[in-house]
Amino acid sequence: MSIMTRKLTLAALCAMAMLASPSQAQQAAEIQVTYSNGQFQPSEVRAPADKPITLRVRNADAKAMEFESKSLRVEKAVAANSEGVINVRALKPGRYEFYDDFNEKARGALVVQ
């Protein structure tokens, strides 16, 4: 492999890594949600726009749940009586719905302003 080819490969890998990972340079806003009795508490949480978010989901129920959101594009299985940590990219203002994939009725929303 020539030096030029190696440099191009390295540049492509760096570009992909930058595209792939949510911005780590900024301090993440931390948000806590508790899942209890088959419901999210609170059911609506707020976060600042254009800043990465760390979402801590504490499952207080005696059975596992799966935190999922199509618009946030994340999913995380959280075992009974434990906590899951989800890193979310910096978001534009809007309402992002989430739910428990195992429980049709458990819904919530992240409002980004």
């Binding site: 595209l19 792939a20 990972s21 199509k70 994340v74 999913e75 979310v88 534009k92 809007g94």
Partner: protein, 297 residues
């Protein structure tokens, strides 16, 4: 014995009854209570902008069949056995193997053939460039898909074929959780080395528009139209013909982790440069069908 017309009429009536039943079910449900839907597969041959959820993995079997040439009998299919995963919230990666079937008899310029074969491999990188929010209904994904084939897609002959599909997948949420429009813009250059030592360069260029209505929380129906141009050069300089294809689409989510999509396209207009016949059946087919099953895990 029922005639072909009577059979088609009966099928149309069944389809209409199915749609009527589905639309009735849709009226009974409240769309605002539905979960958001992944748009990637709801438009048939047109691909939506969805890239899945971070950490999600999926195995799919995606089969495209092509039927009908100017004369004789022509039926061919290519099936992707595909693994998809989403390593970040902006990128999706797919790769897999290809299998093909060819049943050709009495078609001008093609050898008769009846074969099933392993036909190659592919990979795809998708990057979500514009993401949908509650304030912005548009989402756009850029994708590149290099493919290597050992079997020619059209003739089924042994070749070495290298293709690079580049595509823009865009979709608009017209009615929240209910009505979606999809658009694709495609450029697909390829080079084929035949067993006789010939080198053939060609390219496809075109686009599509699709409209899909979610008639129940787990069922989406719609229609799409494709316009495709064919060139005997990668640089789009030697135009050889074009075609318009239209048809219905269907998406069904069986469980939260399993779904299928189906589509049928018929060529309704086409032309071959230098050949004053209707339709372009040299570079495209009379009909094509898509059937895809996916399992997420």
């Amino acid at each position: 014995m029922a005639t072909k017309f009577q059979r088609r009429n009966a099928m149309a009536q069944c389809a209409a009854a199915g749609l009527f039943w589905c639309s009735g079910a849709a009226r009974a449900e409240d769309a605002s209570s539905w979960r958001e839907i992944e748009t990637k597969y709801i438009f048939g041959f047109t691909t939506g902008s969805g890239i899945g959820l971070e950490g999600e993995k999926e195995f799919t079997v995606d089969s495209i069949s092509r039927f009908g040439k100017r004369d004789g009998h022509y039926a061919a299919s290519e099936t992707k056995y595909e693994f998809e995963f989403t390593p970040s919230q902006l990128i999706q990666i797919e790769f897999g193997a290809l299998g093909s079937t060819h049943h050709i008899a009495g078609v001008t310029d093609l050898d008769d053939r009846r074969q099933v074969a392993f036909s190659g491999a592919f990979a795809e990188l998708r990057y979500l460039a514009i993401e949908r929010t509650s304030n912005n209904p548009l989402a756009v994904t850029l994708a590149v898909e290099p493919t290597v084939r050992l079997i020619d897609e059209t003739s089924g002959a042994r070749v070495h074929n290298y293709e690079l599909e580049t595509i823009i997948n865009a979709d608009l949420e017209l009615l929240k959780n209910r009505l979606f429009a999809g658009f694709n813009l495609l450029y697909e250059p390829e080079v084929t080395l035949t067993r006789m030592g010939d080198v053939q360069r060609e390219a496809k260029f075109g686009g599509s528009a699709a409209l899909s209505l979610r008639i129940a929380s787990n069922v989406v129906v719609g229609g799409e139209i494709w316009y495709l141009r064919h060139y005997d050069s990668a640089a789009l300089t030697a135009f050889t013909g074009d075609a318009v294809m239209v048809g219905p689409t269907l998406y069904i989510q069986f469980t939260p982790k399993m779904f299928m999509t189906a589509a049928w396209n018929t060529q309704v207009w086409g032309r071959e440069i230098g050949n004053p016949v209707s339709l372009n059946l040299a570079e495209f087919q009379r009909n094509r069908a898509k059937l895809k099953f996916a399992w997420e895990f």
